[in-house]
């Protein structure tokens, strides 16, 4: 990149070719006001506050102006100041901005600019427009009274989330941000990711669960990683007096644009399950409370007296906890498994059997945006890996062909080029595709015959041919396999297809922490003497409940009261996600830090120490205990 030299306010600065004047000024700490520009979004050049004087005559928005050799830029002339003050007053006085009653008071870009430009008196009267507040959504309040029409939310929903839910409607003074074609937000195609809210410069879009709990300056900020799924989005966790206020995405400069999903952003705020702070022991229908130490002794003695132990952990825990738990359990001779590990084991087994090389597996999920075709098996990723779903939508909006194959409802219906609904086993469809590719092009009649031989599996020959044709034409296909596909045969056929076509694969499983790839896991006893469940904060897991029901004695360690803890014989408290320190491995195999955002509540201070002591009861020591 060649450097361009030019002058800003009398100061010579240099910038890389292709940058905008605004970017160059930002790098050189020259302040230019703005409302619509946002680094995660394309420049709209709408707010007109960033206008600068170019070569002493032209007035141009600096976010749209590319740097050029010898430009003479003035950012702070009397004239510009006058225009900016006028625009700010227009924006402020034409809508119903009342800072002292606004949730964003203190966190508002418009308010900051009003202070910066010392607008403390107004030339024009208020207009008192009559806007309704839309509070139909579960998490987001949309209030046009505080909207500055910067278009950030619209661009975020389109460019980052790929969902195109928000739009601009109406002309002139009736112009407003509308949802779909004018429905309430709560009844719209919104995915509830909250990205619009995060980029809103004012209080026009705000988080229902954080309202008036404190602005950013009053909160403590912890940079952490989301453990809702294996994408592992980086988060800013805001807490105040030991309470969670809000969570925001941080990877603004990356492909994710700083987005989170409903589970990552809102669920921890909504989830008001009862906290478990004591050990509960149930015997003969009677419930008693024990101290943590007593609970540990109890667990150790029960584990010690049993031969068939199944230990099952949530996939949403840190590597350190998973590690300590597995060691403690193995010390007691238990079989050990983690949510999502079974799928990974199958995958490994299939890969070995068909000699599939690692090169087929992509270790950067943003690659889907570069693919020519995406073949998506199981659209449940819409819920399980929403950020990946956003990449797929973005790709599909930009011309990538998207084929979705699902047993149930296609959650990409409005982005999919070809939506195939086929009941399990999905494997037959893929098998036919493979067959056609292997044997050269078949005619639809041939296929009709074959598929009827296969036994009325409702495979449409046209679907098969369409997939074949698309894959044969393109040079860069990506096959995305959702978590719901857990049968070995489906995996095998899909992998074979990837091998045949030289396609790349993104294979997902339910574990948020991909540390399961390096942990040794195995299938557990289905009806054990003792089941020890280490629950995380992910959704209720049916496998865990079944295990608790089938075991003679069950131990559940959890931070919250749930169906699991209600059924358990011994309940041991654990920490909540935000009370833990540690690491996690994301889907790309990258290690990320999980930081402690809140002090632990209750007796439990460290799960790792707890498991070390539990192992110690069988005379097995590691870690700190060993060093000691």
């Amino acid at each position: 990149m060649s450097d361009v030299k030019f002058n800003v306010d009398g100061k010579d600065i240099s910038a890389r070719k292709g940058m905008t004047v605004m970017e160059a000024c930002e790098e050189n700490d020259i302040d230019i006001p703005k409302l619509c520009q946002h680094e995660a979004l394309e420049n709209l050049m709408a707010c007109r506050l960033c206008v600068v004087e170019v070569n002493g005559k032209q007035i141009t928005p600096s976010c749209g102006l590319k740097v050029n050799e010898g430009l003479d830029i003035k950012t702070q002339t009397e004239k510009l100041r006058k225009y900016r003050r006028m625009i700010l007053e227009l924006i402020y006085r034409c809508e119903n901005h009342y800072c002292m009653f606004c949730e964003s008071d203190g966190d508002c870009e418009l308010q900051d600019l009003m202070y910066e430009y010392e607008i403390d008196r107004f030339e024009y009267p208020r207009m008192f427009p009559d806007w309704d507040v839309d509070s139909s959504h579960n998490h987001i309040v949309k209030d046009t009274n505080r909207c500055v029409r910067c278009g950030r939310c619209i661009r975020a929903c389109d460019e980052v989330v790929g969902n195109q839910t928000l739009n601009l409607g109406g002309r002139g003074i009736t112009n407003e941000v509308i949802v779909d074609s004018g429905v309430p937000l709560g009844e719209s195609t919104c995915t509830s990711c909250g990205m619009c809210m995060q980029v809103c410069p004012t209080g026009s879009l705000s988080n229902k669960h954080s309202l008036f709990k404190g602005n950013k300056d009053e909160c403590e900020l912890t940079k952490s990683t989301c453990l809702s799924c294996s994408i592992g989005c980086c988060t800013d966790v805001y807490t105040r007096t030991g309470h969670l206020v809000k969570i925001e995405g941080t990877d603004i400069d990356k492909e994710s644009g700083g987005q989170l999903c409903e589970r990552g952003r809102f669920k921890p705020l909504v989830d008001r399950g009862k906290r478990i702070s004591n050990v509960i022991y149930r015997e003969n229908g009677e419930e008693s409370e024990l101290s943590l130490q007593e609970g540990l002794e109890k667990a150790a003695s029960i584990l010690g007296n049993s031969n068939e132990i199944s230990a099952f952990a949530s996939g949403g825990l840190t590597c350190e906890i998973l590690d300590a738990f597995s060691k403690a359990m193995r010390a007691h001779g238990a079989l050990f498994d983690v949510v999502g590990a079974k799928r990974y084991r199958f995958e490994t087994e299939v890969k070995r059997r068909i000699n599939m090389i690692e090169g087929h597996f992509i270790n950067d999920i943003t690659e889907v945006m570069k693919a020519e075709n995406i073949l998506l098996y199981d659209t449940s990723i819409y819920n399980t890996h929403p950020v990946l779903a956003s990449y797929i939508r973005r790709a599909a909006s930009k011309g990538t062909k998207l084929i979705t194959i699902d047993a149930y409802e296609d959650r990409f219906w409005n982005h999919s080029d070809k939506s195939i609904t086929i009941e399990s086993p999905k494997t037959q469809l893929t098998r036919l595709v493979n067959q056609v590719i292997k044997e050269g092009k078949a005619s639809i009649e041939d296929l009709s015959r074959v598929s009827s031989i296969l036994g009325g599996l409702r495979v449409h020959p046209e679907d098969v041919m369409e997939i074949v044709n698309l894959l044969e034409e393109a040079s860069y296909d990506i096959i995305v396999i959702g978590c719901e596909i857990i049968d070995r045969w489906s995996l095998r056929h899909i992998f074979e297809l990837a091998k045949l076509e030289g396609s790349y694969v993104i294979s997902l499983n339910k574990a948020s922490n991909q540390y399961i790839r390096s942990l040794e896991t195995e299938g557990v006893y289905e009806e054990p003497e003792v089941a020890y469940i280490l629950a995380g904060e992910d959704e209720e897991n049916e496998d865990m409940i079944k295990l608790v029901e089938n075991a003679e004695f069950s131990i559940v360690q959890s931070s919250k009261k749930s169906e699991l803890t209600d059924k358990a014989d011994l309940v041991i408290p654990s920490l909540s996600t935000f009370e833990r320190n540690g690491t996690t491995i994301d889907i790309n195999g990258k290690k990320k830090e999980v930081e402690l955002a809140m002090e632990p509540k209750g007796e439990m201070r460290s799960e790792i120490a707890f498991f070390e002591e539990l192992a110690d009861k069988r005379g097995i020591r590691w870690g700190k205990t060993n060093q000691r």
Binding site: M45, V51, K82, M86, L90, R149, G172, I173, N175
Partner: protein, 600 residues
Amino acid sequence: MVRKEILICSGTGCLSAGSEEIEEKLMDELWKHELEDKYPLTRAIKRTGCMGPCNLGPMIIIRPEDTFYGNLEPSDVERIVEEHLLRDKVVYDLLVEDKDGHRVEEFEKLDFIKGQKKVVMRDSGDIDPSSLDDYLKVEGYMAARKAIMDMDRSEIIQEIKDSGLRGRGGAGFPTGLKWEFAAKEDEDQKYIVCNGDEGDPGAFMDRSVLEGDPHSIIEGMMIAGYAIGANQGYIYVRAEYPLAIRNLQKAIRDAESAGYLGENLFNQGFDFNVELRVGAGAFVCGEETALLSSIEGKQGQPKFRPPYPAQSGLWGKPTVINNVETLGNIAAIIIHGSEWFNSIGTEGSPGTKVFAVAGDVENTGLIEVEMGTTVREMIDIAGGVADGKDFKAVQIGGPAGGVIPKEYLDTPIDYDSLSEAGTIMGSGGFIVLDEDTCMVDVAKFFLDFTQEESCGKCPPCRLGTKRMLDILEKITEGDGEPEDIDKLENLAETIQNTSFCGLGQASPNPVLSTLRFFRDEYEEHVYEKTCPTGTCKALLKAFSIDKDLCVTCGKCVEVCPVDAISSGEESYSIDPEVCISCGECEKICPVKAISEGGKE
């Protein structure tokens, strides 16, 4: 006897004036007189596009003698058929009078037509727009044939550059240059777009051309497409122009089946197709980048330039966007050459310009004149100010333009002279205002329009114009304050300098231009709380009767619509609380005893 042909104007204006009724009646009469052999219905009556003098509609021309009958009533038809068609006798009392009161026989000799020079409107009103044959008879597609078969791409562009043709959409950018920019781009896919999103209030030039001569636009696009290397054209028309859409659809279909559109045109290996795109009628979509967004199926909002559409336009491909009227000139230039075109108009602005003349003139309608014609000559063509009133100003250029007052009546109409006079050529709005027009009200009208049509993208335009409108309303309501005029100017400056697109930047022009020439009128509204023309009703004062003069004739009592006048023995009196200042009593008073705000 020579077979006669009856042309009936079927432009949107005449249709609403009742031309269809006249046509029906004509057919009935022809049938009645058993003339169907001599005048086969399908050939005798020809529906044409707009003939121009819209206030004379419904109108017909009888050929070959070119006799013009205007303002027809269905009852007149019988006489025309019996006398003119059967006995070859012109029906004198149905002819249109000229300004000296003489009846004019021939269309070309009408006052309204004499001063005009028709280039773009050459075929409109002359041919049947739904007939490809008709178009071919007037050398249709000859220009395309010449360009594609005998000329190099660069030759065509040079010819257009030499002709000096400037964009008729308003800004006046040289068309040849625009083509050259797009031609230079090294891309396989390029587009040519016809901007038919005519949005100025009162303007209907583009509509008339599209309705009356759709093939000429297709031909212009084809030549442009060939010159820049585009094989796909789009015509963007607003949905409010159903007749234009219908005629264009027919024209495209006919041209396709006759081989004038499609593959391998004139056997030269050049493919060209045209598609119609119907816009929802947003004013901002006349702005080229907004128009492209709209064609792409996105919201019609302007985009930042550069890159200009000639480099990166429709779907990121080089795109030339020309106004309807600009494209209407192309075929003529190719046929007659750039020198011929240069001989028309002025040096800086060759050619002609079509104006939609409206307002307080005797004859409204479409007038195509040579560039350089003065404003005064234009008004003469339109028959002068209506009702013998005094001329006050003419508004040119629509919502982005300004007014030209009496002192500038001799301003020649060309791009540069108009901009010196503080207005713009615009797309061709020409509204004549007589002495009874309030200039604040005129500014308010245009601001109301731009304010409502702002796309909402940038605050100066969306909110600033609303603020300006509020102030103008305040002034016309009689609540104007001394600082309001300064506020208008301040807002105007910010809007001009910071708005995103040309529409926003030009939106304060109607206010600034009226302020420039009629500032005293604004000041009278603000300081004296009076409207000199009596237009702003809120500023009118109650009328009163001079007791000394009143003769108690009672005429005022009869005309008063609100019964505000009561009788007395010596004199009548007006209740100021009830009076609505309509002025009817003042007009009728035989002894001039009644005056506005006069002494009791």
